[in-house]
Amino acid sequence: MSSTDSAADQRIAYMDGDSALPRLNGELVFEAPWEGRAFGLAVALTDQGACEWEDFRAGLIAEIADAPSAPSDQADVPSAYYERWLAALARLAVSEGLVSQDELDLRTGEYASGEREDDHW
């Protein structure tokens, strides 16, 4: 039940000083930049009243419950959790009318094709 040790984890574990990654919980807070952005988006939208945290939470519960149960060796992949988080957030943004499904799909495609780039993160 502990987090898995990969070679990459081992390398990160020995990084210190200025190169140290945030490990306040004894492990990385976010495994990839997009996870932090997805997390921050949900907090920012609810902080600013664009949507209700409780609605987001209900959507997250539904996404987690609906996700096909992964094989036991993949069940604890951290990114899977934030993928569900993102799915819940996108669904809520569409249902609240903040963005449309079409423009979200179109924009995703533009980033995928390289037509649009963004190195803000």
């Binding site: 039940m1 502990s2 987090s3 945030p22 306040l24 919980n25 004894g26 492990e27 807070v29 976010f30 990839a32 930049p33 997009w34 932090g36 952005r37 997805a38 997390f39 921050g40 988006l41 907090v43 920012a44 939208l45 609810t46 600013q48 664009a50 945290w53 409780e54 939470r57 997250l60 519960i61 987690i64 419950a65 149960s69 992964a70 036991s72 069940a75 604890d76 951290p78 990114s79 959790y81 993928e83 993102l86 957030l89 996108a90 943004a93 903040l98 963005v99 423009e103 979200l104 924009r107 995703t108 533009e110 980033y111 995928a112 094709s113 390289g114 037509e115 649009r116 963004d118 803000h120």
Partner: protein, 207 residues
């Protein structure tokens, strides 16, 4: 293979979720619903400022200050806010005291509710299907896997977090720590001890 020249697009190597997140963020920014620097700030705060150290300070204060101890158990959210930690998305934080006869452990069976202001973001295992489902069914077995063997006489109480209430455990003060200062006690309080899957460290263990 096509040659490279100006204006040609190269497919992004990023995973779909990253592209989707970029798409959602850029649209929300364009519509004026959020500002990118607000998200920068939230991410930075959770990565660098908010972590289990906040909770450890709350626990150490409760260990040395009987009046704070009493208030923490009676009005957790307020007592924690007094230390400057707040913002649990509107949820109350209830503090559960572990004693020689009662051991509390916290889970969120439905998602991953967690007392962010005092513990930061949850560890990967807290979000796992295994922990969320098994802790309620067989808490002693789960605790044993974390290396925590409890006597059969100890009552184990499992607390399922909800939208309204998020739980934090006040671990037992380790024996032999009577002479330690509050700051020294903070060092003994681990994240896992505040979730209830471990006990607070003893001075010899936390070298």
């Amino acid at each position: 293979m096509s040659g490279e020249h100006e204006g040609e697009h190269h497919p992004s190597p990023e995973p779909y979720a990253a592209l989707r997140t970029r798409a959602l963020e850029s649209l929300l920014v364009e519509k004026g619903l959020i500002a990118s620097d607000v998200i920068d700030e939230i991410v930075r705060t959770f990565e660098q400022d908010i972590g289990p150290l906040n909770g450890a300070k709350v626990v150490a204060r409760a260990w040395v200050d009987p009046e704070y101890h009493r208030r923490l158990l009676e009005h957790g959210t307020e007592a924690i806010a007094d230390m400057g930690y707040q913002g649990a998305q509107g949820a109350d934080i209830v503090v559960l005291e572990n004693t020689p006869t009662v051991h509390n452990v916290v889970v969120c069976t439905l998602c991953s509710c967690y007392p962010w202001p005092v513990l930061g973001l949850p560890p990967a295992w807290y979000k796992s299907e295994a922990y969320r489902s098994r802790t309620v069914i067989e808490p002693r077995a789960v605790l044993r896997e974390f290396g925590l063997e409890l006597d059969e006489s100890v009552e184990v109480r499992v607390w399922d977090s909800s939208a309204d209430v998020r739980y934090m455990v006040l671990p037992e003060r380790p024996t032999g720590t009577e002479s330690l200062s509050e700051a020294e006690l903070v060092e003994l309080v681990t994240r896992d001890s505040m979730i209830g899957v471990a006990k607070a460290g003893s001075p010899a263990v936390v070298a």
